[in-house]
């Protein structure tokens, strides 16, 4: 692994964490889609219990 100089290190730390954001959005969207599928596609489609 190459050593980072101070300038490169500062640039990385101050830039937007694109990878982290991508991971957060992917996890969030996947969770919402999964929940909606289970709720509307499985739970409600099998019939309401009252």
């Amino acid at each position: 692994m190459t050593e980072l100089n101070e300038e490169e290190r500062k640039k990385i730390l101050e830039s937007a964490p694109v990878g982290t954001w991508a991971l957060m959005v992917t996890v969030g969207i996947s969770m919402v889609i999964g929940w909606l599928f289970l709720y509307y596609g499985v739970f409600l489609s099998r019939g309401i219990i009252n």
């Binding site: 957060m24 919402v32 409600l44």
Partner: protein
């Protein structure tokens, strides 16, 4: 208290997702009557065998005068009685469950059947089976050492191959 901005954003997203889920459930509960099982009907669990509806002869499948199909089942440690019933596929069936001893639950995979069977109460659930086949009936409330052996079976046949049983002379299906 310092909270990292990224952590704060992720917390906001998490709360937003939870609010979305709760909002959908609330809207369906308030405007589309999607509720937890709420049939409140009491029965004396100690004298089920003497009751007209859940006496041994009336258990299983019955069809009332209007053609509605009822299935009456008794849950007791460690089985559901009768052990096997045959019903038609793709047809509305009203299940009525009672317990003779402790708290039980019932779950039939691939259907909406999932409810508690509380001693002293009748659990009534309308269900249907999309395809013919054998469906297991499983207890999903821990009821004792034999809980994991507590099961029964529902044999689902094509609608045109199903033969309706004779309605009981006690008229319990009404």
């Amino acid at each position: 208290m310092h909270i990292d901005p990224l952590e704060k954003k992720w917390a906001q997203i998490s709360v937003g997702i939870c609010a979305l889920f709760v909002g959908i459930i609330m809207i369906d509960a308030l405007f589309h009557s999607v509720n937890a099982p709420s049939n409140v009907e009491t029965i004396n669990s100690a004298t089920l065998h003497l009751s007209e509806e859940f006496s041994e002869d009336n258990l299983g499948v019955q069809v009332d005068a209007e053609g509605n199909i009822f299935v009456r089942m008794v849950a007791g440690r460690y089985s559901f009685f009768p052990k096997k019933v045959t019903v038609p596929a793709d047809t509305k069936i009203t299940f009525r469950w009672v317990s003779i001893d402790v708290l039980h639950g019932v779950h039939i995979p691939m259907t909406n059947m999932s409810t508690m069977i509380v001693p002293g109460f009748v659990a009534e659930v309308e269900s249907s089976f999309p395809k013919p086949g054998d469906y297991p009936v499983l207890c999903n409330e821990y009821c004792g050492l034999g809980h994991d052996h507590m099961w029964s079976k529902i044999d689902v046949v094509e609608k045109d191959q199903w033969i309706a049983p004779q309605t009981s002379s006690t008229g319990a299906a009404e």
